[in-house]
């Protein structure tokens, strides 16, 4: 059946099966491979994209259900004004390793930033509990997000570990 999808500002007219998953459509039909597949059941967050400004797990979201709402992916966010701030904070805190989870974290972040929801470190810990990362140990990601959101660093964290040379003896 014919579907009209608005993705990152562009309109796509697509013939899709009734049960086509948004993740597959983005990756296989539109070549937007920034959203990743991992757990396939809304646990890991690597496939997170926005539908009408709301984060969804696109591995379990029917493409049809996007309706008239715009779909935003990491490719769109990365090209938007203001992404440089995100890049700078993730660079500063070295907040990624294999990178597989990173687009999902960033797409979870985007609407939270827009709404000003993140006011404390605890807010970050709550809002990102649905994004898994198996590499970093999370702290650097939380530090980076806090910096982007203007949240003060955790006590003892500002100088010690994120300084260029780390703690040494």
């Amino acid at each position: 059946m014919g579907v009209r999808l608005k993705v990152n500002g562009a309109i796509h007219e697509l013939e899709l099966a009734h049960n086509a998953l948004l993740l597959d459509v983005l990756r296989d039909r539109l070549g937007l491979t920034g959203a990743k597949r991992s757990c396939d059941m809304q646990v890991c967050g690597t496939c997170t994209v926005l539908v009408g400004e709301e984060p969804v797990s696109s591995c379990c979201f029917l493409a049809h259900d996007a309706g008239d709402d715009e779909v935003q992916t990491i490719e769109g966010f990365a090209a938007a004004d203001g992404f440089a701030v995100v890049g700078a904070a993730f660079a500063e805190h070295n907040a990624f390793q294999c990178g597989y989870c990173t687009p999902g974290f960033l797409m979870t972040l985007k609407p939270l930033l827009a709404r000003g929801t993140l006011r404390s470190r605890e807010d970050v810990q709550r809002e990102f509990a649905g994004n898994l990362c198996r590499c970093t140990g999370y702290r650097a990601i939380v530090d980076a997000i806090c910096e982007i959101a203007g949240i003060a660093p955790a006590p003892g964290r500002d100088a010690a570990a994120s300084a260029p040379t780390g703690q040494q003896r």
Binding site: F96, Q97, C98, G99, R134, G166
Partner: protein, 750 residues
Amino acid sequence: MIPAGTAVGRSVVRPDLAAKLSGAAVYGADLPVAGVLHVKLLRSVVAHARIAAVDPAAALEVPGVVAVVTAADLVDLDATWGHYVRDRPIFADGVVRFAGEIVAAVAAETEEAAAAAVTTIEVEYDELPALLDVAAAAAPGAARVHDRAPRPGFACPPGTELGMDNAFYHHGLQHERVAEVDEAGAVVVQHEYIFPAVYQYAMEPHVVVASWEPDGISVHSSCQHPFLVRQELATVFGLPLERVRVRVPFVGGGFGSKSYTKMEPVAVAVARAVGRPVRLVNRVEDAMVTTRRHGMRCRMRTAVRPDGRFVSRQAWIWMDTGAYADNGPTVTMVAGMAAVGPYRWDRVDIDAACVYTHLPPSGSYRGFGAAHLQWVGESQVDEVAALLGIDRLELRLRNLLDRGETLIPGQRPLDADLAGDLREVAKRLDWGGALPAWRGRGISVGVSPAGVSARSAARVELRPDGRVMVLVGSQEIGQGARTVHAQIAAEVLGLGMERVVVLPTDTDHTPYDRSTGASRSTTVAGLAVQRASERLRTALLAAAAEHGGVPVDELTLRDGRISTGKRSWDIAELAAAGPIGADGDASELTGAGPALFWEVCVAGAEVSVDPETGLVEVPRVVTVADVGRAVNPSLVERQDEGCTLQVIGNAFFEEMRFSEDGVLLNDSLLDYRVPTLTDVPAEMICVIVENGDGPGPFGAKGCGEGVFGGLTAALVSAVTDAGVPVRELPMSPDRVWRWIQQTTSDTAPG
């Protein structure tokens, strides 16, 4: 602390930042492949059975299906694989030996068609009794999982004895430091211990794109060891090495799950059958039955003199390697070594056995061996300390080996200051300070053999555009190998990081590297990069001397420019006529392995136990990254923190559960929980120790795995200190609660 160089010793920004943040980084499943067929696998639903019949007729009727491939399509090949033991059929050949074994593959034009078709293949199983318990499988007279004598694989060390029993491989360590070991009057502790099967969960499951072409096999794979995959495929499919090409894109995490060969043989077998490129993408439920960490059972005995001097350590260890060996013998060897502990024993007597069962195969997972056994040995040290009334730290310091002492005869002597590392931990744990009830501190020390092989080579080339290309076969699996290798080349060549590019691996062009594992990328592959860069530097200076007509010793190379007095040239000018390249390798690293260096496993922790629920919280962990020289301190810290979270998962809740029939019960991330950011300890302190004592570039040695041995043991030690003795992992709330009840009833009056 060692002063930073221009690039080495600095937490430079990873060159893959922009690609990974923007979604542009290409992983295996992102590769566009024209005309590709999608592969879905039919896996056995029973643990042990004879296959009476496979009927693919219905599957072949599904629109879009091109082929169903089974063992019957490979009869012209010796279609078994395995680098250590060649025991694993590509498709089950008459018998299935674990629930999850690959029985058939469907290749179809779409993933949906393949998925729909695979469920329609009819398989008739004649079920057989399954051996699911490692001790039962290892018992004398047990039925055999494999009825043929084990065949050594291409990477099996010469002289290795492989037996006919399920316990087909033993690693024994027997040595005496004194002639007459006297245990009279010694305090003895002896118990049995259990470690569960766990799952690595690299977030990107295995992906293989394979094609069978007239001139050979071409594979893109999310693998850690492409050169060993090449060798395996060449062996199985009867081709010379140069007709097998393996390329590796960005890899979404490995942790050992993508070491050696995994999904490549089946993908290639399907490509060969259909004559078109195929793509095979695992799901989590596939990945969990592809490889896992060995479950372990162990009996250990430790004897210590009343004055606190260690006498003897004995251990009998059974590692459940599942139905196929994978890297089990290596894991077993390292487990045996970890059982010893870095102490001055009069006598050591260890037997570690690698045992076949009818469970899914086990292989490498970060910190293997040390993760399994360090907590066992260290908990006995703690127990002895309590019996003798000696402080746990003090007892360790009295018995620790010094730098240069022999740990295991025939292996590299100890090459680290373990006592110094332990004191660093103690200081940050406020060791000796009072704690409220149900809180505890733990500390642990160990070492694990790392490096494994000196077989790493590199080529460094100055290109006409003025950039330097580094060709080295370490895989970028997230750890930052490409960043570190760029830093090493930049440091030696006096270049900015922006002018150094580390290329992805293509076995047709990249110099040989044995493997991305055993913490060897910085130390071993990094040394090859350093040596190649030094040769290139020499070549550039010689070329510049000729170019400018000045003696070499009057030239300096900095910031990409060669200078003499007031004249200077950009090095790009030297390469105007073509690239200038140099090769290097790590062959100077001596020793046959496995210990090219000892990875330090020292950590501490503080915990709080809730006696009502059995829930353990971890307010503080201290890890020691004794890395010799931190090429990139921030990457070192990230290794320790990432490993810390994996340890917390393994120690407190991760556990693969199997039914009574040997079927994996928790085969999804809903049922198999991994740590989220709510599990991050309030304080994670990573102490980077730089003694310049590593054999790698600039005195570096590897890191990233030691935390698994050290912190697992420290957490066990801390929970025990809080009042709950631990003999089994994970320390899940239900277990901890039961142990509390048992301890309470054991000590109740009457």
